[in-house]
């Protein structure tokens, strides 16, 4: 049985530089991609600096996460996840759970509550009668792409879908939240996805919508349905469920985060 697929070598590097040494640094990382019907992770390693013992767990949404603590003083915290992925261009990500179990993806979450802007937008562009859920979602992603301008720095990690839509500007997180909010208003289960795209840069966020028994990736930021160049890391109701690095530590000073994601075609 032959299946269309592509092989990638990926590395996701995240570094925190502290201006003053910190200690008792506890962290939880959601940056390890998992195998599913669409993607096979054939190799994966996690490297930490300073080195530290890790506990691995699966959260309520099925994401793998690792956590640990660096008790001693340190100025740099660096994580590097490297591996190989084989992504299919045809396989569907099944969604055969009873509708009730999809409830967290059907109702508004913290970032996706509808205010007047979303309601007006939904009124104007909402799902038409006889329009299939998948078709509607594709139309919606193009519509959002058209109406939004990709601008960095105007929104931040606290910006909700409603606020981003009101300002008509934002980044991938905002595009995804807007799309999720609108899908849920139409009763279509949808979830926030964090992952990587072929090339070099930052991590990316997009949307998965459930239609006809499968999850379909939609990327309103890039005006397209996802294909085999997308490697998924985690999913949840919205940004907060997928935060890549959560941490607390003791110490003064400030932290600077640098992220470098690289995905190269392998053969």
């Amino acid at each position: 049985m032959m299946q269309e697929s592509r092989r990638f070598r990926f590395s996701y590097r995240m570094a925190l530089d502290f201006s003053e040494p910190v200690q008792k640094h506890q962290f939880a990382l959601r940056m390890i991609p998992q195998s599913d019907e669409r993607q096979q992770i054939t190799a994966c390693s996690v490297k930490l600096e300073p080195e530290c013992a890790l506990t691995e767990e699966t959260d309520t949404f099925g994401n793998r996460y690792v956590y640990g603590e660096i008790a001693h003083l340190h100025r740099v915290f660096c994580v590097e996840v490297c591996g190989m992925a084989e992504v299919s261009s045809t396989a569907l990500l099944l969604c055969d759970r009873p509708r009730m179990e999809l409830a967290p993806f059907r109702f508004p979450s913290q970032y996706t509550k509808a205010g007047d802007c979303l309601k007006a937008y939904h009124e104007k562009y909402g799902q038409k009668e006889d329009e299939q859920a998948y078709v509607y979602c594709v139309r919606l992603l193009h519509q959002i792409y058209q109406d939004m301008a990709y601008v960095q720095g105007v929104t931040d990690i606290h910006t909700t879908a409603e606020e981003a839509l009101a300002g008509r500007e934002g980044v991938c997180q905002d595009y995804a939240h807007i799309m999720i909010a609108l899908c849920r208003m139409a009763g279509i289960p949808s979830r926030y996805v964090v992952g990587m795209m072929q090339g070099e840069g930052c991590s990316h966020a997009w949307v998965e919508v459930c239609a006809d028994g499968a999850w379909h990736g939609m990327d309103p930021t890039n005006d397209r349905v996802t294909d085999d160049s997308y490697i998924k890391i985690s999913h949840g109701r919205d940004y907060q469920d997928c935060i890549v690095n959560r941490g607390t530590f003791l110490g003064n000073g400030t932290q600077t985060q640098t992220v470098c994601v690289r995905v190269d075609s392998d053969g």
């Binding site: 506890q26 506990t55 956590y67 009730m100 967290p104 109702f107």
Partner: protein, 439 residues
């Protein structure tokens, strides 16, 4: 039934309460204000038979709510069987997906419940709301009783009433019942919390450690108390008032500085008990309140002993029609608010306010419940030397050990404003001791 010195010494008792720190801290317009919680010495007296009846109803209610929580985070039978529409569960901010499939020690979710009741002029008791996220208030009648016994010893010699100083034992039992191994601690966000007096008082009375978040740490999915020398000792149960959202920055609000990183991991692996359980917000949601009598019939197969105040859900079309037709005689409550906020009376709105509100109600029917205004009994209170009548409610406390136990007392709160029905302490009311006669 009381000696006059009980009333005459009210001022002294209040002075002592202030010195002990019986205060209520409230945030208003972003500033923190501490105010005294004025005590009125005329007790609310409840006859034994009447309290026995309340006790039966309260136990039944808390049992049903506890089963409901277990059902919601596991099988969801009550939703599948369409007793409760799914919107009321999953669109509620109290529902926490992180608690899905997590079973707390001994399946106890509602370790401490505060059930608010009022007695109508018709002599019937009505439930106004359930509080299942560690309700505060028990410490006030406890300390007031202690001081009054000193201010008027004869009163307490002559009257046969239930001693309410056993709250500490009931609480201790509730905590010990679920303690996994090690210490029991009372976790407080600190002295700027509205309930700081209560935390310190209950810690003293139960013998639990009073700790703040920085004194607790999680290692290998176990919770430890770190003492001043850095020595770590295992903690098996945590009484906490920190809301779920701030409990663990690794799972919930990532910016919480009062939470304990990874405490939720320890909890979901069964290595520590949290009182009350995370996720309880779904059970004391004002929208869910409407369904509690249905819940009692559904889970226990019994008729509810205690009634709700007559409540309408504008979510249902026929209820909406009723609400619109009887708007002026109803009180409307925003299901997302607590502490007496988000409560409006139809009769007190201007025409314009009413039109705006009805428009909002029609846009977001799920957000509100409407209730008949219960004409509840007034209680006597002292006011500048004379006795006047004011509205009052009762917060009864139910503690769950292996089975529910009702504390034979309660917090009676009254409104000092003669025209107000809102008795919440955060709205400036006062309190009374609640006497339950022992025969």
């Amino acid at each position: 039934m009381y000696e006059m010195d009980l009333l005459d010494n009210t001022e002294d008792v209040n002075r002592l309460l202030a010195r002990y720190g019986v205060k209520f801290g409230i945030y208003k317009n972003n500033t923190f204000k501490e105010q005294l919680f004025p005590f009125d010495a005329i007790p609310r007296v409840i006859q034994k038979e009447e309290f026995d009846y309340l006790e039966r109803g309260l136990k039944q209610r808390v049992m049903a709510l506890n089963i409901f929580l277990d059902d919601i985070y596991h099988d969801k039978k009550i939703v599948r069987d369409q007793v409760i529409p799914e919107d009321f569960i999953f669109a509620s901010s109290g529902y926490m997906p992180a608690c899905e499939g997590v079973t707390p020690v001994k399946k106890i979710y509602a370790h401490i419940s505060g059930i608010d009741l009022v007695k109508g002029k018709d002599g019937e008791w009505y439930i106004l709301e359930d509080n299942l996220r560690v309700p505060s208030g028990a410490s006030y009648p406890m300390i007031a009783r202690e001081l009054c016994r000193r201010s008027s010893p004869k009163t307490f010699r002559d009257n046969q009433l239930e001693d309410n100083r056993n709250y500490a034992q009931l609480l201790r039992r509730a905590m010990d019942t679920v303690n996994v191994e090690g210490h029991t601690v009372i976790l407080t966000p600190g002295r700027y919390n509205a309930a700081y007096f209560e935390h310190s008082y209950l810690a003293e009375k139960t013998g639990a450690h009073l700790v703040n978040g920085s004194e607790l740490t999680v290692e290998n999915d176990r919770l430890f108390y770190v003492d001043y020398k850095g020595k770590k000792e295992r903690v098996g149960a945590v009484y906490r008032r920190i809301s779920d959202e701030y409990l663990d920055p690794m799972h919930f609000n990532p910016e919480s500085v009062i939470g304990i990183p990874h405490i939720f991991d320890a909890y979901r692996k069964g290595n520590v008990a949290l009182l009350n359980a995370p996720g309880n917000g779904i059970a004391d949601d004002k929208g869910i309140y409407y369904f509690v009598p249905k819940m009692i019939r559904y889970y226990l197969g019994e008729e509810p002993v205690l009634s709700n105040a007559p409540t309408y859900l504008p979510f249902y079309e026929e209820d909406m029609a009723y609400v619109l037709a009887h708007f002026d005689s109803l009180v409307l409550k925003d299901v997302a608010e607590a502490g007496g906020y988000g409560v409006v009376f139809g009769s007190s709105m201007t025409k314009a306010q009413k039109a705006d509100f009805i428009a909002l109600l029609q846009r977001e029917p799920r957000r509100f419940i409407a209730q008949e205004v219960i004409d509840f009994q007034d209680l006597e209170i002292q006011d500048a030397g004379s006795v006047v009548e004011r509205k009052a409610d009762l917060r009864a406390f139910v503690l769950m050990a292996d089975e529910p136990q009702v504390w034979k007392s309660g917090l009676t709160r009254f409104s000092r404003n003669p025209d107000s029905f809102i008795v919440n302490s955060s709205q400036g009311g006062g309190f009374k001791d609640t006497w339950v006669l022992s025969h």
